[in-house]
């Protein structure tokens, strides 16, 4: 059984948060879907709330401190990312965007991503499609077709709404597991590996 690492980025602000709750459901479903495909998963959760000040510092100093660096390395080195944010003012939260802002531009190129979002009302549901999906398109991540949005009523219990959420979670997790299963494990990129183009090539403007 091969192993992959799933990084979970949760931008919820309260503890516990519905954002983390959704992230946990997406994670559990993904781990199960990967197991169905003969792949075991290691899950690493990054709670952005714990890095709120680190992120502000990074904006000012230009570097991630030790604690934030570990979180960034976890996400950048993962085989897949589950990213869940609350929707504030019609878009992903500022904290979530700040985390994305401190990543290197190419950090998530090709990485399979499952997006989720929470809000108080279902009227925010398309924020995933009009705000978050373009953000990951810019990062050239590979985002699964199903994005999972959960409003307050989705947590209502064993009714119609919760069943619909559960179905969406399962479908999205299956899509992510398919992507992960179809790819080789992530290989770390070392910017200080010996260059593949020689300095003579640089001199010639190649």
């Amino acid at each position: 059984m091969s192993t992959r690492t799933i990084a979970v980025v949760s931008a919820g602000l309260s503890t516990p948060s519905s954002t983390r709750l959704l992230a946990d459901r997406l994670t559990a479903a993904t781990v199960a879907a990967l197991a169905d495909r003969g792949i075991s998963a290691t899950v690493e959760v990054v709670e952005l709330r714990e890095h709120a000040r680190d992120l502000a510092d990074n904006l000012l100093t230009g570097f991630a401190n030790t604690s934030l660096r570990a979180a960034v390395d976890t996400v950048v080195g993962a085989d897949a990312v589950i990213a869940v944010t609350p929707i504030f003012s019609a878009s992903y939260s500022g904290l979530f965007k700040t985390f994305v802002d401190v990543l290197d531009r190419d950090a998530l190129v090709g990485t399979p991503v499952l997006m989720g979002a929470t809000a108080g009302t279902a009227r925010h549901s398309l924020a995933l499609e009009h705000a978050m999906r373009p953000l990951f398109a810019y990062l050239r991540a590979t985002v699964v077709p199903t994005a999972v949005f959960a409003a307050a009523e989705d947590w209502a219990g064993a009714g119609e709404a919760d069943r619909a959420l559960a179905d969406r979670v399962t479908r999205a997790a299956g899509e992510l597991a398919d992507l992960v299963a179809g790819r080789p494990p992530a290989a770390p990129v070392d910017p200080f590996a010996d260059p593949t183009t020689s300095f003579e090539d640089l001199l010639r403007g190649a």
């Binding site: 904006l59 000012l60 230009g62 570097f63 401190n65 260059p195 640089l202 001199l203 403007g205």
Partner: protein
């Protein structure tokens, strides 16, 4: 090992008084700081280059020529010379001229500059930064080492039969360092030519500096200039000292908290943990600085930033006293005792002339007198 200071020439409000120095005051202050650096026994004074407020140093060779005239031993350098937006022809001319005026006490550090708007003011584009650094520096080297240059490239007009004057002093160009915080290509460039590599060091965690320096050393060896531990490495450092370390922290904190680069972000304590910033007693500065060697190896040049963020001149001069009296003599002794014999010192004009087999006059006399049209031989025969 060489010890010195580097300044970015910022004109910053003193947060404790609310007063911002004038350009005239700050320019004179930097001259006083350079002179003091020599008096207290430091080896190097390096001056930045900027073309936008709040910085004054748009013309470093003018300032350094003045410093050269008021000092006798101080090595003059830059931090950095913009290899991207300056015409390499003008760099070749200006620094060769400075080299003559300063009797060879000149080296320079190439940097790209990270302020996007500056590039178009000089007809360039920051997105071409690495390519500009590569092409311009290749031309600069030719202008210094070849008397007559034919050249064509992408970023400046071609040259036909061009001679950069004055020719480098004693036929030996100034030693060049390349400074970069995060671009492996620049470390690669330094290694390719066997030039020095300087890491600013003060704004980033040490692990990052370590990886850049390791890369440079490995590539220096790859290109056959010597073993990795013989590569020429310089580091920045940032210190503020008082005899009593708590006094240093109390006095420096308002400057730190309001500093243009990192102010209003991490605390002084956090930044001191994450970066090489050392605020405390001279003994603490000695210990921290000796520790740099643990992750970059034996290195050749240590420059401290001591005059930024609105610190008043009087305070900066006191910092220089502490550096000269208490810190650098100990560092000099300790680093020297640790350095193996096969690790070279930082190149100087004298060592480079010796390595070239002695001084040569490389004056290029014009083939013809453009005023009278007479040849040189005709003129000399009269």
């Amino acid at each position: 090992m060489q010890f010195g200071i580097f300044t970015v020439s910022d004109i910053t409000q003193d947060p404790t008084t609310g007063r911002t120095p004038t350009e005239a005051e700050r320019i004179k202050a930097v001259l006083a700081i350079a002179q003091k650096a020599e008096e207290v026994g430091l080896d190097v004074f390096a001056l930045g280059e900027h073309h936008n407020p709040p910085f004054f140093s748009s013309s470093p060779t003018t300032t350094l020529a003045h410093v050269a005239a008021t000092t006798e031993k101080l090595q003059l350098s830059t931090s950095t010379t913009l290899i991207t937006t300056n015409d390499p022809v003008k760099i070749a001319e200006d620094y060769a001229m400075l080299q003559h005026l300063a009797d060879g006490r000149v080296d320079l550090m190439m940097g790209r500059g990270n302020t996007g708007p500056v590039y178009p003011w000089f007809g360039q584009d920051i997105r071409n930064g690495i390519e500009l650094a590569v092409e311009n520096y290749a031309l600069l080297r030719r202008l210094w080492t070849e008397d007559v240059v034919d050249w064509q490239g992408k970023y400046r007009t071609p040259l036909q039969g061009f001679t950069s004057t004055p020719r480098p002093l004693d036929g030996v160009p100034p030693f060049v360092w390349h400074g970069s915080i995060r671009s492996p290509q620049i470390a690669e460039q330094a290694a390719y030519y066997g030039d020095g590599f300087f890491h600013n060091h003060i704004f980033w965690p040490p692990e990052h500096t370590q990886r850049m320096v390791e890369f440079y050393r490995r590539r220096y060896e790859h290109y056959g200039h010597g073993s990795a531990d013989q590569a020429i490495v310089g580091l920045g450092g940032q210190v503020f000292m008082r005899k009593n370390s708590q006094d240093a922290v109390d006095e420096f904190r308002p400057y730190f908290d309001n500093a243009p680069v990192y102010g209003h972000g991490p605390s002084l304590e956090e930044f001191s943990t994450e970066t090489p910033l050392t605020v405390g007693s001279p003994q603490q500065v000695i210990e921290r600085t000796l520790g740099f060697r643990d992750y970059v190896g034996d290195y050749q040049r240590q420059l401290f930033l001591i005059d930024h963020a609105g610190l008043p001149l009087k305070t900066v001069l006191e910092q220089l006293d502490l550096l000269g009296e208490e810190v650098v003599p100990v560092l000099r002794r300790e680093f020297a005792a640790l350095k193996p014999a096969h690790v070279p010192d930082a190149p100087t004009h004298a060592s480079r002339v010796a390595a070239a087999g002695g001084a040569t006059d490389s004056t290029v006399h014009a083939a013809g007198d453009s005023v009278t049209g007479r040849s040189r031989e005709e003129v000399e025969a009269r």
